[in-house]
Subunit: 173 residues, 2 copies
DNA sequence: AACGCCGTTGAGAACCAGTCCCGACCAGGA
DNA sequence: TCCTGGTCGGGACTGGTTCTCAACGGCGTT
């Protein structure tokens, strides 16, 4: 098991944003889709971020840069990035979706602290094998998976307090 | 790996509904909460069902029995069942939640066909161990987990057609 | 059996993430 | 530069879920 990060999301290597932007340009050209200002700006925000961003976060980041895009465009562009395989969509049970730049092909999964909201990522070498076995045994063609472990982390005092309370109440509750 | 069911959800043992209802009565009494007609009717629908039900499904099932409950009550009661540990909430990316009676303590996970919507369940003995290891390595107290594998099943001709198309396009896309 | 407390119920309004509409706009090739 | 087909964007809309609040109904007490 490899811990990728204990901060909010996977940190892409430095300078990665520029490379990703070139990939985006290529993918758009290949599909004969225009490379517009809005697509560039939204992709820039995504590629430079080290966090899981909501559509709202993206709009706010654009505003902070003096840029602007209608929310329909933000949603459309995020969906486009997902379709092109440059981003992934996550639902951490907050009532809205979050998006994360997909750097490389390595799949990783999430631990979500329900107390402070912190999300950390991990990779476990056995998970890929297990899901591959499962799929073949069921005649199932697996396309994506979502593995989320909800619980409490030990970062803040409040989280540790909740951990203790939960252990005392017992997992039976 | 044990296949629990290839139908839509876990099938509780016969006569289970009555037992579950007694458990509900006890839990409510313990918390000094009233056991109302609506709670009984909604719980009955849940406990007798072998499928993952949406709030709408529950309301429809009530109508079919000549009963009725306001939608606020349906949502509140489902949330209550989850809180009491008698049901679990699922999000299969359909834009709404589904609920399933939690029978016993055995955790199971889901394979979701994105073509026909069929959900099958599985248990894998190694998953529990892996998540327990992960949690302890991260100083994390795991409370629940959600493991969902999205893909295409081989039940219908349309699903198999999609499987073939996906395999030819390659997982790289 | 009647009373009273207090949580529950329910109809509809409110909320809100996400989608749709459609006229104006623009990237990119001719 | 002109053309053209896809994109943009503001606002209306959708639909699942939550909120509001007055009326109601368990259930323990008297």
């Amino acid at each position: 098991m490899t811990v990728l990060s204990t901060t909010v999301a996977t940190r892409p290597p430095l300078g990665c944003a520029a490379v990703m932007m070139q990939v985006l340009r290529g993918e758009l050209r290949e599909r004969e889709l225009p490379f517009t200002h809005q697509r560039e700006a939204i992709a820039q925000v995504m590629f430079e971020s080290t966090r899981h961003l909501s559509a709202d976060d993206v709009a706010a980041a654009l505003r902070q840069r003096g840029e602007h895009a209608g929310k329909a465009t933000v949603y459309r562009t995020l969906a486009l990035l997902v379709e092109l395989g440059l981003a992934t969509e996550h639902d951490f049970d907050e009532g809205f979706k979050r998006y994360e730049t997909k750097v490389g092909a390595a799949q990783h999964d999430h631990l979500i602290c329900t107390a402070c909201g912190q999300v950390s990522t991990f990779q476990h070498p056995e998970l890929d094998r297990i899901f591959a076995e499962l799929a073949s045994e069921h005649g199932f063609e697996a396309i994506t998976r979502q593995v989320k472990v909800f619980g409490t982390c030990s970062e803040t005092a409040a989280c540790r307090e909740l951990q203790r309370a939960y252990r005392e109440a017992g997992p039976a509750s």
